[in-house]
């Protein structure tokens, strides 16, 4: 059987090392495999590598590869492919998206075709999680040499790409050589249906078996349909109101805190996403996250906010502009409007400026905003997730515009610590501090939705949003 699937946004490219768009990753995860993977509870599990181990000093990481792993051409996946892939990622010319996560790799050894050893310049625990990302997928060394990565998609994943008609459709067929095989369906046909109402209509008329949904307004209609099932799972990405602490008056800690106290996060969630999601602190990884009620001002307190404003010398409030991207996420405009109305109560007058995504990104990267509504991606490891913003050397430090020695040192300690329990403590402190100094106002995490016909069995939704389990999905009668 063929699984008919639909999504609203199509992949934007086929080079697993370069693509960062959500939809690209979802497609590429079906085609390519990384060394390891994270499961539904965000535990690291085998993929191409069957086992892995850090050396005592934490400066060497050894993988054993699955002897059954084969590329879609039939060639086995060897340690040479792994080495070539990582060298490609590290090569600046590649412009690999995840390069920053692998800068601690000093050298790569391939003692035999089934063994790879990464020598690290410093202890780097999060690197393992980073390797679970499809941005660290293993691609054939031969293809790298031929320069065909990104044109012909050849990976070791459960499906191979037969046809891609950008912004229209993809046709995938089962990879007979897949080490994890056999797959439950013969292939997947993905249609791009840009309008989610149309996706719902197609589900209702049973034209499609499985769909990705983005807009909670549409997703909540699915359960009303007897033959349809909605899968939802909290995700790692988080909705956030980014303040720009380099701009007056957000330079003032008290002003930022006042904003944090003035916002009713649950109400933002209830309104913009119809309550579909969970209020969150900075850490969205379930195993790491602190109960939000423990965090600074997570219970709305307008009086306190007003007091803080007064202390900061802004008793009469101030005006600022908040930017957001149209449709990215679909709830952005709604969030902005609720926040606007909430902040109005402490005298903050917000102007909303919705922008086309690229225009927004351009302004965002330049740090050219007072406040920004954003949906930032999450990672299975807090360090990977936040070092870009809150370490002094972070690549996006200019966007966060906030330098804090405490945060920086907490990040460095958490990076080097290999004991999971100790790491958890370090990051709990980090989270608490971050919420208190409030450079950003974390709001909530939403759900990732997939909708399916009830006869589709075996799909396991995960917080990373991966569709990898489609490899094992079957279609009943």
């Amino acid at each position: 059987a063929t699984l008919h699937m639909a999504w609203a946004q199509d992949a934007t490219g086929l080079d697993p090392h370069k693509q960062t768009a959500f939809s690209s990753l979802r497609l590429l995860e079906l085609i390519y495999e990384p060394l390891v993977r994270v499961d539904a509870s965000l535990q690291i599990v085998p993929a191409i590598a069957t086992s892995w181990e850090f050396s005592k000093d934490g400066k060497a990481l050894t993988f054993k590869l699955d002897p059954k792993a084969k590329f879609q051409g039939g060639a086995a996946v060897t340690s040479a492919d792994v080495k070539a892939s990582f060298e490609r990622i590290l090569d600046e010319k590649t412009s690999a998206a995840a390069r920053a996560n692998f800068l601690s790799i000093a050298s790569i050894d391939t003692p035999d075709p089934a063994t790879v050893v990464f020598h690290l310049s410093q202890p780097d625990v999060p690197i393992l999680t980073a390797m679970s990302d499809v941005n660290a997928a293993i691609v054939p060394a031969s293809e790298i040499k031929a320069g065909t990565i990104g044109t012909a998609a050849i990976g070791s994943g459960p499906f191979k790409l037969d046809k891609w008609d950008p912004n229209a459709k993809e046709v995938l067929s089962a990879n007979k050589d897949w080490a994890g095989g056999p797959t439950g369906v013969d292939g997947i046909e993905i249609s791009v249906l840009p309008d989610e109402t149309a996706i719902l209509a197609a589900l209702r008329t049973k034209q499609i078996d499985f769909a990705l949904l983005n807009d909670p307004l549409v997703a909540t209609l699915v359960p009303k349909e007897a033959s349809l099932q909605l899968n939802r799972v909290p995700v790692l990405s988080y909705h956030v109101l980014q303040l720009n602490p380099s701009r007056k008056p957000m330079t003032e800690l008290k002003v930022r805190q006042a904003i944090s106290c003035a916002i009713d996060r649950q109400e933002v969630l209830d309104t913009a996403s119809l309550g579909e999601g969970k209020v969150t602190g900075p850490l969205t990884i379930p195993a790491m996250a602190t109960d939000p009620s423990q965090l600074f001002c997570y219970k709305r307190d307008v009086e306190k906010a007003k007091a803080l404003m007064k202390e900061a010398g802004y008793a009469d409030g101030f005006s600022a502009t908040v930017i957001g991207a149209t449709g990215e996420p679909p709830t952005a405009a709604a969030e902005a409007q609720v926040i606007q109305s909430q902040l109005a109560e402490i005298g903050v007058k917000l102007d909303i400026k919705m922008m086309e995504l690229n225009v927004y990104v351009d302004a965002w990267l330049k740090g050219d905003f007072d406040m920004a509504i954003a949906l930032n991606g999450g990672r299975a490891d807090p360090y990977t997730m936040y070092n870009r913003y809150w370490t002094k050397a972070g690549n996006l430090q200019k966007v966060a515009n906030y330098i804090d020695d405490t945060l920086d040192s907490q990040m460095q300690r958490g990076r080097a610590e290999t004991d999971p329990a100790k790491r958890k403590v370090i990051f709990a402190e980090f989270e608490k501090h971050l919420a208190e100094v409030s450079p950003w106002i974390w709001l909530y995490t939403s759900y990732s939705y997939t909708a399916q016909q009830k006869n589709v069995a075996g799909f396991v939704p995960t917080p990373t949003g991966t569709l990898f389990s489609l490899g094992k999905v079957t279609i009943g009668q």
Partner: protein, 319 residues
């Protein structure tokens, strides 16, 4: 002949104008191919990575050099390579164009098949209740945003009747005509409704003018039947404004119908252009706008030629 040559000779100039406008305009929009591909992750790139990507996207040179190169390519029949599709721009456009053309033709056929008779009917029943009904329906048609109509159609069919032509996986006409028509009929109706409404209004008023002309009286004095008077004698004289309107609308439709293509998930030119803009696929945007402009000029030319065919009094090239 003379006229045709003269008109065709203005094409390159207009296209040059279009090319400059589109080239400058798309570059004036903040964001570039890199932010389009990487989003906020683009901030993670090192300068060297950024340069190599810029070189990959062909946006590393000053704009006038880029423009010059592009223009040179066009002279050699090469509109450039689309970075999203990894294929020559012209190939991508030509792949999408048949659908757009088909959709435009279908909607126009619907519009003319419904609008002209409705307009004629209203004109011949001027100021009677039936005329009023036609006029009100036409005004409703004109005032319904097509996304509302599209959503209503889809909702009514899928939730009400549980049927819907295949969404997505578009089948070209020559591969599977039945499936193709089933996929295009709803979008064509959606577009055709408002189009038909304008045609109705225009043909009604044109017919009203024509019906009082002397030659209609002559036709009647010959003993021509009411039907023949209306359809053979009056209508051909009322077609000029209808052709003008249809020409403009058809020209616009050939540029793609973004919203309808989006809702009905049709891989047409409109969505392609929109996506190309959003993805900052410069070559594709430039190429497709040129292509669309070219189509528009061809349609304008055809409209002018249609005037001549419809009305022997019109002589072209006389200003």
């Amino acid at each position: 002949m003379n006229y045709l040559m003269r008109r065709l000779s203005t094409f390159p100039l207009v296209l040059l104008g279009v090319s400059i406008v589109v080239f400058v305009a798309i570059r004036m929009v903040p964001g570039d191919s890199i932010t389009a591909m990487l989003g906020t992750e683009a901030g993670l790139l090192t300068p060297a990575q950024r340069d190599s990507l810029a070189a990959y996207f062909g946006i590393d040179q000053p704009w006038f050099i880029q423009y010059g190169r592009w223009l040179l390519g066009i002279l050699h029949g090469n509109l450039g390579i689309s970075v999203t599709y990894g294929r020559p721009v012209l190939d991508v456009i030509l792949e999408r164009f048949p659908l757009t053309l088909e959709l435009a033709l279908l909607s126009m056929i619907i519009a003319l098949a419904v609008g002209v008779p409705a307009g004629v009917f209203a004109a011949t029943h001027n100021e009677k209740p039936s005329d009023l009904v036609v006029r009100v329906v036409a005004m409703i048609g004109q005032s319904t945003p097509n996304f509302v109509l599209a959503l209503l159609i889809i909702y009514a069919l899928s939730a009400g009747f549980g049927v819907l032509p295949a969404m997505g996986q578009f089948a070209p006409l020559w591969q599977d005509p039945l499936r193709n028509l089933s996929q295009l009929i709803l979008p064509a109706i959606t577009l055709g409704f408002a189009f038909a409404a304008s045609v109705t209004r225009i043909s009604r008023s044109a017919m009203l003018d024509v019906l009082s002309d002397d030659y209609v009286r002559t036709a009647r004095s010959k003993g021509a039947s009411a039907r023949s008077v209306i359809w053979r004698h009056a209508l051909p004289n009322a077609l000029i404004p209808v052709v003008t309107l249809s020409g403009i609308e058809f020209g616009y439709l050939l540029g793609g119908a973004v919203i309808v293509e989006q809702i009905y998930a049709l891989p047409g030119l409109g969505r392609m252009v929109l996506d190309a803009i959003l993805q900052r696929d410069y070559a594709l945007v430039q190429g497709s706008v040129l292509f669309i402009a070219f189509n528009f000029m061809i349609v304008n030319l055809l409209v002018d030629l249609a005037y001549v065919a419809l009305d022997p009094r019109i002589r072209l090239g006389e200003r």
